[in-house]
């Protein structure tokens, strides 16, 4: 990047540094989605909204692409700076600006780590509901961009259900406010539209969120089944009976083996699948619901039930779930995670098809997922040093997503489309559907400087015929993929 521009950036964020040497930039060439890589031209660390405004205005003025980045835990390449753009790293804006327990509101900066908010309000008896598995490191701003979920979203909803207001720096540097602490703001729901826009509509500098009272009681149950199909049927049975647990998670045999090897939670290694079911809320009536759930599980062939006897055991059971992805890393050097969603009732069929895909492509697939939502997380195991296997991984991934779409589902439940899945968007959306989305993006981001090249596959597909950055980035992305395939480390 031009030295003069680097100096201008440095002047804005001083005394914070601006990173621009190749070795410094290496860290920022990808996020949690490691198959695509693109180094930024610089990384800046603003500490105030004013600095974000100044950086964006500078980029706008010089027509330089930019992308906001939180903790970089995203799994769809949303935080990649394509076209050699600037990464605006938001992690230094990590303060809780205000807490209002009576009204159950908090105003936070986007770089605040998700879990840190819940920890900060815990003693007062509150928490922030969206709980992605990466909540120990991912940021609220990143959650807003991706509309992140988590195990407890079955009952409590995803990020969009808990964000009430936003302060946003638009891609031309204008500062605007959407929604607020009060509800039903007149006009279009720009807060709702912005959440999940994957950093393509602007940069969030303040977030007003809803806090929830901590549940009075929990009941955490593990139920073991002979097969994933039996467990799936139990899931439909529970929801069909009118019980909405706080969480309803499934692990198949491969995942059980990995978790047991990692944390020795005493899981039966011969179980075909397990359900982790957590009831939460008021204590009244919870025992009855737990009994009903146990009955339903037994009706579907459940082989055994384990109920957490205390907080320590509950924590252990959840540890197995939350660290399952990491545990799967024991089974193979690398894995690729998908995030498709299907209607709950199609789970047995989806799991059968996943087994077929696994057999056809000679790949092991572990399943650890949000069964209650029908949100699959097939983890395709592979070794990146085996290039033929990597090719099969990509083909299997496509087959998995096709399956989700065939069964009436969608491409992503919580990880986002980003760079990773944008070319699959036409499987679900017509050119006209995508054109509406593209026109909307142009309202916010007319020059496509803000996180270009994400979500919408524009090349030759958009009726508006706009000049897009897509054409420009494709070779770079191909190169990045090639680099990835040539032995770059894919995080387990």
């Amino acid at each position: 990047m031009d030295t003069h521009l680097l100096q201008e950036l440095a002047a804005i964020v001083a005394p914070m540094p601006v990173l621009s040497t190749p070795e410094d930039l290496l860290v920022y060439e990808c996020d949690g989605h490691t198959l695509d890589k693109a180094p930024p031209s610089a990384v800046v660390f603003p500490t105030t909204t004013e600095q974000v405004v100044a950086i964006v205005k500078l980029a706008h003025q010089h027509t330089i692409p930019f992308v906001a980045r939180g903790a970089g835990t995203g799994l769809s390449g949303g935080a990649l700076a394509l076209d050699g753009g600037i990464i605006i790293e938001m992690c230094r804006m990590n303060k809780i600006l205000s807490l209002d327990y009576v009204n159950q509101r908090a105003v936070v900066q986007p770089g605040l780590v998700n879990l840190h908010l819940s920890l900060a309000v815990s003693d007062a008896g509150y928490y922030y509901a969206p709980d992605p598995s990466s909540q120990g490191s991912c940021t609220i701003g990143g959650n807003v961009a991706e509309n992140s979920g988590g195990p407890h979203t079955l009952k409590y909803g995803v990020t969009t259900n808990h964000v009430l207001g936003l302060e946003v720096v638009l891609p031309d540097g204008t500062l605007v406010h959407f929604g607020g602490a009060t509800l039903d703001t007149p006009g279009y729901d720009l807060t709702g539209l912005f959440v999940g826009s994957e950093g393509t509509f602007g940069i969030v500098t303040e977030v007003t969120v809803r806090l929830l009272r901590k549940p009075q009681a929990w009941k955490t149950v593990l139920a073991f089944f002979p097969s994933a199909e039996a467990a799936s049927n139990a899931v439909s049975g529970i929801i069909g009976a009118g019980i909405i647990p706080g969480a309803l998670e499934m692990m198949d045999n491969l995942a059980i083996q990995a978790v047991e090897a990692a944390i020795q939670a005493g899981l039966p290694l011969d179980a075909g699948a397990l359900l982790l079911i957590e009831l939460d809320g008021i204590a009244d009536g919870m025992e009855e619901d737990a009994t009903r759930i146990a009955d339903i599980c037994r009706q579907h062939g459940c082989q055994g039930v384990r109920i957490a006897q205390d907080e320590a055991e509950r924590a252990l059971l959840w540890k197995g779930r939350k660290e399952a992805f990491g545990a799967v890393g024991r089974l193979s050097p690398n894995y690729y995670t998908h995030d498709g969603v299907i209607p709950r009732t199609r789970l047995p069929e989806a799991l059968r098809r996943l087994r077929e895909i696994s057999a056809t492509h000679h790949l092991r697939i572990a399943n650890v997922f949000h069964a209650g939502d029908g949100n699959l997380h097939p983890l395709v195991l592979y070794d990146e040093r085996d290039t033929a296997e990597v090719t099969r991984v990509l083909q299997a991934g496509e087959a998995i997503l096709r399956t989700c779409v065939d069964l009436g589902g969608v491409l992503s439940g919580e990880h986002g489309i980003g760079l990773e899945k944008k070319n699959c968007m036409p499987w679900l959306f017509s050119d006209d559907d995508l054109a509406v989305m593209h026109h909307l993006r142009q309202v916010f981001n007319p020059h496509e400087l803000c996180n270009p090249g994400k979500i919408i596959p524009l090349r030759g597909r958009c009726r508006c015929g706009a000049v897009t950055t897509d054409d420009a980035v494709t070779p770079a992305v191909q190169e990045a993929v090639a680099a990835a395939l040539e032995g770059a480390h894919v995080r387990a």
Binding site: F178, D184, P186, Y188, D189, D284, D373, V410, H439
Partner: protein
């Protein structure tokens, strides 16, 4: 006029003579007293597309309509070329109870849909004040909500997918049919509450909820507004499965007197608390709640009211009736209905302000709130509904606006005589996001022909 005659002929060839209203028939479809030139009731999506393409060719303004129950919401239109009703799109397209989702056409009648869902032990967890004709499309377009929003939220928490016909006749969709989805921009949120200014809603996919196993409504009378500042947080912080927390002042209670039955008027504020669960659970919870409120440090102890199960249901119906903003043609509203949004903690002080404002006009202003959400409906009575004193009503509204501004809240004038609406901002002042809203409107509807002039900032 000849241009519109041409449009009428063209429309007739698309929808047939039966589905086109002209001449005197259009009076029934007047919006704020402005009769449309034409009314069209297309049978399906394809016809809606054709109608919109014709409207574009004739540069006609198009006013979308569901059941017509809430057409008076918004700034009065100046003139209306074409009213486009989606009421004939009445099919339930998909319903898989075990998935807790359903896909319906926009013209499906809300109460009829609830009846179908109830038969399966489920419901769409919206309980807005509606008429028998109110459609699900209309509920989305106006973002209606009711007291159960405390537990279940509003349309934005339940709408999973939408299909719309754009102003140029193109059908597009967004979202999906699954309960969790981040595939593409969340246009559902944009369509909710957009008052038909962006596109015509034709298909909606909803997340459903199981019916609660039982409900219990208890009433608590408070002698003074100041006590509410203790009572409201006490109720909200107890571990309860609380689906509604309604607050009524004495004037609102009076309006509901018939349904409230034995409720004495000596309690200036009445709190209606609705709990969910099996009978054993709700009884237990009700008892604990009552004890907690009796223990609370209040200026005056609360009075506890109980009702029979049928009476409890009637109460909530009566509240809906109180908050329903009729749009019947030719009806002269007897009040201004103002929806105010505040922080919950500001509700008690605001109640007191409303008492003061009412006293200044020499009339008590009924107030009913979804108190847990900070949503307060204020009624400003009209002395002579046949000949309203517009100046005086505007002054009352202005006084209320100043009060709302002090709490950094906002308000929508949901119902008022046209003469009042013509002289005030129905949606309140625009904020710094209005430029963006206007650009979005223009992106969807470049010539501003969909419901023009009726939405926030004159969109």
């Amino acid at each position: 006029m000849s241009a519109l005659e041409g449009l009428a002929t063209a429309l007739e060839s698309v929808v047939g003579n039966d589905a086109l209203r002209t001449g005197a028939e259009v009076q029934d479809y007047a919006i704020d007293g402005v009769a449309p030139s034409l009314v069209v009731l297309p049978a399906d999506e394809a016809q809606i597309g054709e109608v919109l393409r014709l409207a574009a060719a004739y540069k006609a303004t198009v006013f979308p309509r569901g059941g017509g129950s809430h057409m008076s919401l918004g700034q009065p239109p100046t003139h209306v070329d074409l009213v486009l009703s989606v009421q004939r799109l009445q099919r339930q397209l998909a319903y898989e109870p075990a998935d807790l989702t359903t896909t319906v056409q926009a013209g499906v009648c809300f109460t009829e849909l609830q009846r179908v869902l109830r038969a399966n032990g489920q419901f769409l967890a919206l309980d807005p004040p509606v008429a028998a004709t109110t459609t699900v499309g209309g509920i989305v377009a106006t973002n209606l909500s009711g007291p159960r929003r405390l537990l279940y939220g509003t349309a934005r928490d339940m709408l999973l997918g939408t299909a719309v016909i754009s102003v140029d006749g193109t059908r597009t969709k967004a979202g999906g049919r699954v309960v969790k989805n981040v595939t593409g921009y969340d246009l559902n949120k944009l369509y909710i509450g957009s008052l038909g200014t962006l596109a015509i809603l034709v298909e909606l996919t909803w997340k459903l909820h199981p019916l609660p196993p039982g409900e219990l409504t208890l009433g608590f009378g408070c002698a003074q507004a100041a006590d509410l500042a203790t009572v409201l947080p006490t109720v909200l912080q107890l571990p309860l499965r609380l689906s509604s927390l309604a607050l009524l002042n004495a004037a609102a209670c009076q309006a509901m007197a018939a349904q409230l039955g034995s409720t004495p008027e000596e309690a200036p504020y009445l709190l209606l608390v609705r709990l969910e669960g099996t009978p054993a659970v709700t009884q237990n919870q009700g008892q604990r709640l009552t004890e907690a409120l009796r223990r609370a440090a209040l200026g005056h102890p609360v009075t506890v009211y109980t009702w029979s199960t049928p009476e409890q249901a009637q109460l909530w119906e009566a509240l809906a009736g109180l908050l329903y903003c009729e749009a019947s043609v030719g009806l002269t509203p007897a009040r201004l209905l103002v929806k105010v949004s505040l922080l919950m903690s500001d509700v008690p002080a605001f109640c007191q302000d409303v008492e003061t404002l009412g006293a200044r006009t020499g009339m008590a202003w009924p107030l009913a709130a979804h108190a847990g959400n900070g949503i307060v409906y204020v009624h400003i009575p009209i002395r002579q509904p046949e000949a309203p004193d517009v100046e005086q009503l505007l002054a009352s509204l202005q006084a209320l606006d100043q009060c709302v501004a002090r709490y950094q809240g906002h308000r929508v004038l949901e119902q008022a005589p046209v003469a009042v609406k013509q002289h005030c901002q129905v949606w309140g002042p625009c904020r710094d996001d209005f430029t963006l809203m206007r650009a979005i409107k223009t992106s969807f509807d470049p010539q501003h022909r969909l419901n023009p002039g009726r939405f926030v900032g004159g969109l």
